[in-house]
């Protein structure tokens, strides 16, 4: 079963533990400048929105890569960059509509979320549950459930409930 990162911005406090966990896992350094997940703040910090690669099934980055350095991990569903093959041409960074694959000046290669091989560190580091790792087919389950709970409450409050 493939899983997906599920992000709930309403729960994000913008602590950036995810960015540190990501850079530590991939670079061995606490360094948000090298994180594959970024948190964006709006309205003096009122809202914070974590954003990262959603692992497109037909990934623009993969299709654009001229040297086939980006391949799909069949177990996790992640599009992964093979560093040994990547030539740093950056065509993938142009192709990606979401901006979630980026060039890394210190290595001359591109970096993107690879789901940490199926055990994403950002989700483990998140203290509020704003980032979770769930069944890829059921990223909407929680939201559906919330509406169902609401409907249930209305039904039981009504006549004959």
């Amino acid at each position: 079963m493939q899983k997906s990162l599920l992000i709930d911005p309403a729960k994000c406090t913008s602590c950036l533990q995810c960015e540190m966990a990501c850079s530590f896992e991939h670079e061995g350094v606490f360094n948000p400048a090298k994180s594959r997940i970024k948190v964006f703040e709006f309205e003096h910090g009122l809202r914070a929105i974590p954003y990262t690669c959603t692992q497109c099934a037909e990934a623009w980055c993969m299709q654009a890569c001229p040297v086939e350095a980006i391949t799909k991990n069949l177990a996790t569903g992640a599009m992964e960059v093979n560093e040994a093959t990547c030539v740093g041409c950056k065509v993938c960074t142009i192709a990606c509509p979401f901006g979630t694959i980026n060039y890394n000046q210190s290595t001359g290669k591109v970096i993107k979320c690879d789901l940490c091989g199926g055990d994403p560190e950002c989700a483990k580091a998140c203290p509020t549950g704003a980032i979770t790792y769930v069944d890829a087919d059921w990223t909407g389950y929680g939201r559906m459930e919330a509406w169902a709970v609401k409907t249930h409450a209305e039904a039981t409050a009504g006549p004959g409930g």
Binding site: T13, L16, S23, F24, G28, F30, A33, H44
Partner: protein, 608 residues
């Protein structure tokens, strides 16, 4: 590791920016942040220097755990000589700026001299430039952050800056980073202004490493879990620091109307419950809670003001969310001024952040001015026609803005309450220690806290000691000297790590020790860390003694020593400083004159 082992020294007189290796002997003896910067300050300036003159040195300091996955790792400290007090200033802030400075490769940023024209610093890793800031001079903190990010086309820059209050030398001007986090106390923003330095903007891509990554991550998992499960932590997350207002009200230790009273009838209108309440018009003050860098507590409040409120009804630019009420702001604008209007308090709090001022000292100063006004010592002629009466919400917001913009009577308020009360011939009305206004804890009900206020090296301050538990159990001065001293030493150490004091809800000294020991090379025992705390405290004391302060400055205002508490659990009591202080000096290994003895200096390797 933990440290970047690099200091950035900027001489604004010469216009030079030079990196230099961190003195690792000093790091071993003073750890980082507060402690290490105190050592650098001691070695780099004469404590007698004019705090607003070219010889004062301004240090931004991170700790070895700043910018790591340890919870609350966003802290940095600003260490300098404070213009409000003439003593060492030690102001600690969160937000994201401190971690960014560390990520750029620096443990400390040392600023000396004075620029010949307004400038700001732009730092991207090794690239450091002093940039003319003529266009920025006169702008608010909020405008400055936006302007600098736009100018460098870099939204990832983190900015610490001052407003007009800091430019014009308001003695309690602070440094604001990330729009609403403050290195708040003792006038560190005025020092920055005196150097013609408007802002420091930094972006770092180097990152932080630790000595033993595997062990560090294992320890961090445990310390995160301890915080997650802790009830004190949960209260901070859910209610914010303003939860304190209900405790202080119930106990009778909530300074009200310039300390005439210790309980405030309007608390229910400005407490956490009031922040969450929806008005008949559908407005709710509190919108969300947010975290500083690396913090798994997230005590910060994000709030907004009712659009129909008189403060902003014609000012749409303030119809947005920003940093909401913390306890100290709620206390200093609420009970201390007798005001129960939550929107006025929130607006004044926004103004403090926008213009870069310390709300505790502003509130304390306005409280003394209100007392002078009600006594008839100052009149409408002095106050630009504003009735400075206790309870007048408009007086609070108008004066906050005037002080922030350095206009009219705001210039007088900008002196701080000590000089203001002296100016009008009533020094006894100034509720200060060493010239700094009190945080919201009355020393007649909380005796050990009172001892801490009297002996704090930066003047009245609630963040350098913690005797709450003992004070709540017993309301005399007996036995308070030891917990006061011990907590001062412990907190001095915690302030030197790069982490936040609020973690102490769940962590003891062992948790700090384990994180430091895994992150930093060398053998870090609990004993060694506590000794560092004591060393830091004593070095701050030495700085103050050399600056000219004496035991006479370890005192409390007469109102606390002679006028009994009018109500609450300590009704009829005064602060028993006379019992506590001699015992405290003795426990510290200081002479009866409050000077560290030769043996104490030897024991702490502070001789010479």
């Amino acid at each position: 590791m933990g440290w970047q082992k690099k200091v950035l020294r900027v001489d604004l007189t010469k216009g030079s920016c030079e990196p230099e290796p961190l003195n690792m002997d000093w790091a071993a003896a003073y750890l980082g942040e507060r402690g290490l910067a105190t050592k650098y300050l001691w070695e780099n300036m004469d404590p007698k220097a004019d705090p607003m003159g070219p010889d004062n040195v301004l240090i931004f300091a991170t700790g070895p755990l700043t910018g790591t996955m340890a919870s609350t790792s966003g802290r940095y400290a600003v260490i300098t000589k404070g213009p409000l007090t003439g003593a060492i200033a030690c102001s600690n802030s969160g937000g994201k700026f401190g971690a960014e400075l560390k990520f750029a490769g620096y443990d400390l940023l040392i600023i000396q001299g004075v620029a010949s024209e307004p400038v700001y610093l732009h730092i991207v890793d090794e690239q450091v430039e002093i940039v003319p800031a003529g266009e920025l001079w006169g702008k608010t903190v909020w405008e400055t952050e936006e302007w600098i990010k736009a100018k460098h086309q870099n939204p990832l820059l983190k900015v610490a800056s001052i407003g007009v209050a800091g430019e014009r030398g308001v003695r309690f001007a602070c440094i604001i980073n990330d729009l609403h986090r403050a290195a708040g106390r003792s006038g560190v923003g005025a020092v920055m202004g005196s150097k013609n330095l408007k802002a420091v903007a930094v972006y770092g891509t180097i990152g932080v490493t630790v000595d033993d990554p595997k062990r560090f991550m294992a320890v961090v998992r445990e310390t995160h879990a301890l915080l997650a499960e802790n009830d004190g932590r949960k209260e901070l997350t859910e209610l914010g620091t303003n939860a304190m207002i209900d405790s202080m009200q119930a106990f009778g230790s909530l300074p009200t109307r310039n300390f005439h009273e210790v309980q405030f009838e309007g608390v229910s209108k400005i407490n956490p419950e009031a922040m969450e309440k929806v008005t008949p018009g559908g407005h709710r003050n509190l919108l969300a809670n947010k975290a500083c860098f690396g913090c798994t507590i997230a005590c910060g409040r994000i709030a907004h003001i009712d659009e129909t409120h008189f403060t902003i009804v014609n000012r749409p630019k303030y119809r947005h969310a920003s940093g909401g009420l913390e306890y100290e702001t709620a206390y200093a604008f609420g009970p201390l001024l007798g005001i129960d209007d939550i929107d006025a308090l929130t607006f004044a709090s926004f103004l403090m952040n926008e213009h870069g001022m310390d709300p505790i000292s502003f509130g304390g100063t306005l409280a003394s001015a209100m007392e002078l006004y009600e006594m008839g010592v100052i009149t409408d002629k002095d106050t630009d026609g504003v009735a400075l009466k206790f309870g007048n919400a408009e007086a609070l917001t108008v004066m906050a803005e005037k002080t922030g913009k350095y206009e009219g009577f705001g210039q007088v308020l900008g002196l701080g309450s000590k000089l203001l009360c002296e100016k009008y011939g009533h020094p006894e009305l100034s509720m200060t220690v060493k010239g700094q206004e009190f945080a919201g804890y009355d020393s007649r009900a909380l005796q050990g806290m009172g001892l801490g206020f009297a002996t704090s090296n930066r003047g009245a301050c609630h963040l350098k000691h913690d005797v709450f538990t003992q004070d709540m159990e017993d309301q005399t001065g007996q036995g308070k000297a030891k917990p006061c001293k011990d907590s001062q030493d412990l907190i001095s150490m915690v302030d030197s790590t790069g982490l936040c004091l609020f973690t102490m809800a769940a962590w003891g000294v062992e948790e700090f020790q384990q994180q430091i020991d895994a992150a930093c090379a060398g053998d870090w025992t609990v004993e060694r860390l506590l000794e560092i705390g004591e060393r830091v405290w004593n070095l701050e004391r030495l700085f103050n003694l050399r600056a000219g302060l004496t035991a006479a400055d370890d005192s409390l205002p007469k109102r606390l020593l002679e006028v009994p508490a009018p109500s609450g659990t300590a009704k009829g009591q005064v602060a028993e400083l006379d019992i506590m202080l001699p015992e405290y000096y003795q426990l510290r290994g200081w002479t009866p004159e409050g000077v560290p003895s030769s043996e104490t200096l030897d024991r702490l390797q502070l001789q010479g």
